[in-house]
Symmetry: C2
Subunit: 345 residues, 2 copies
Amino acid sequence: MKKKITIAIDAMGGENAPKKNIEGLNIFLNKNKLNKDFIIHLHGNKKILDKELSKLNISNDLVKVIHSESVVSDEETPLTAIKNSKNTSMWNSIKAQIDGEADISLSAGNTGVLFVISKMILKMMNQVSKPALAGLWPSKKGMSVVLDLGANIECDEKNLVDFSEMGTALFKSIFPNQTPCVSLLNIGSEEIKGTEVLKKTYSKLKSLSNEKNFLFNGYIEGNKLMDGETNVIVTDGFTGNIALKTAEGTAKFVVDSLKQSLTENIFSKLSIIFSYFSLKKFKSKLDPRKYNGAIFLGLNGPVVKSHGSTDSVGFYYSIDLCYRIIKGNLMDQIKNNLDHLDVRD
Amino acid sequence: MKKKITIAIDAMGGENAPKKNIEGLNIFLNKNKLNKDFIIHLHGNKKILDKELSKLNISNDLVKVIHSESVVSDEETPLTAIKNSKNTSMWNSIKAQIDGEADISLSAGNTGVLFVISKMILKMMNQVSKPALAGLWPSKKGMSVVLDLGANIECDEKNLVDFSEMGTALFKSIFPNQTPCVSLLNIGSEEIKGTEVLKKTYSKLKSLSNEKNFLFNGYIEGNKLMDGETNVIVTDGFTGNIALKTAEGTAKFVVDSLKQSLTENIFSKLSIIFSYFSLKKFKSKLDPRKYNGAIFLGLNGPVVKSHGSTDSVGFYYSIDLCYRIIKGNLMDQIKNNLDHLDVRD
């Protein structure tokens, strides 16, 4: 029998925890009624969690509660976290990977603390120069992976090549039937454009590009990010974070303007009745909860960070992401890709 | 009598030139029938321009055609431009400023060439460390100025402080009744976030902030760019260009998704009838032509670059921008602001 996928969830992290975490889990269980290839480990206060589980009538042999004494507080900083966060639900959900009890960890708690203790407990993979934060990005053709979204402010060509290999592995684990195409985010598409680091990365990726691992598509500009011509977009953490948040802000601005226009008079309000289902589909396509879950890559085990403020639906999507990543053998894919790098060095 | 505002237009630059340039001018003339405080100098082939002008019955003593023998070709690169672009319509429209014949120059031609010859002819202002490309950005409260949008890939704190002073001057010249508030684009809003250059710029701007010139609002993240809480957003040219293009791409993606949803079935199509005027207003608010025109700041004279592919309406907005900038005394404002820098050094 194949080993079950074990997802260790910090059930106490994020706004409205553990309510939204358990409700998100409930959605996941309902959508996966026919799958028996996973186990969920909920880390947190057993008494509170048992109560939440019974509220939703979750008594499932696929869910196991593992008691933790404490919780990482919102006031904790990365500097104080190492001292204060031992044996919290977040700590234990990550440590479970080292103890061989889980394949992946998920938390909606304090981001800075999660990164610091993940690095401390799981440690960086041998061949990786820097870990990176990757996310899913909507495109005309589906979804792309973008990294780094903020783990490293400054990056050199070695880091960016590592990110390409790790991002490709992530993409392949989530979308096994698609060929990963890597592009470097830049301010022009010509080979001579950009910083020295980008130019060096460009020539390195060009030489690494092959059918087996990934195809290199050259540079990509911000306005083409969502075209879907490329599906793994690589950049440093500063630029990636600016691009991500600018896209979020712009989408919100456009949708808010639309809402304002469609509710300004009786005719436009009436029109909503006729376009109700179409607008609902439009809204669903752009729903940020579908993209909830940033993946911390480059450690000896994957850690997924859910938005702290997401709701149960958003949390469900991040559980589902964990499930798909492990089902797609992320860690083996990363190791293979990095070996491929070594061969070419 | 006050001296008239003279705008030197490269009438031959951009797609569909000179047709769209002259049509854009016609819109400008129609909207400014009551104003007599400007003169437009059209640089280009006199025969062709006279023909286009007569097509639209423009025979106006506020418009003067100045003959140029040649045009900058699309194939020209910044490297070959200096040799080949002398006496082109673009060259002459910029040189007019040095000869005291114009206050500002406008072109929709080859961007790289425009920057190179602008720098060569107009030269950098004494106190400025690097010139910058500034643009208008829509916000909930109106419009903001963002710079640098791509002139300088790497910037130090001196450059970013200069950009703040120049961006503030630009904002004040266009919106004389509003107080400029400067923010630095960063990946977090806490003072300790970001690169060393950003931290140094932060403390410098904090000490320069005052009611007379500008208020410093600290760091801003990409998702707050359009909130309008701040109206002069400063960043290096790499980050600014990524943010600008990501915002453009995202807005297009959202609007395209909406269009697709609203035309997918008979009910949604029907709804468009009821929401026609509201959707038109929504579209108009986001119309990129309204923001057409990037301003090249830091030279001994302002140069405005219109999108090459814009139409007559977009070109009209860039003529209008030139008019407002000079009416608002941009160059004096920049000089004042930079003097204020010197005092505080």
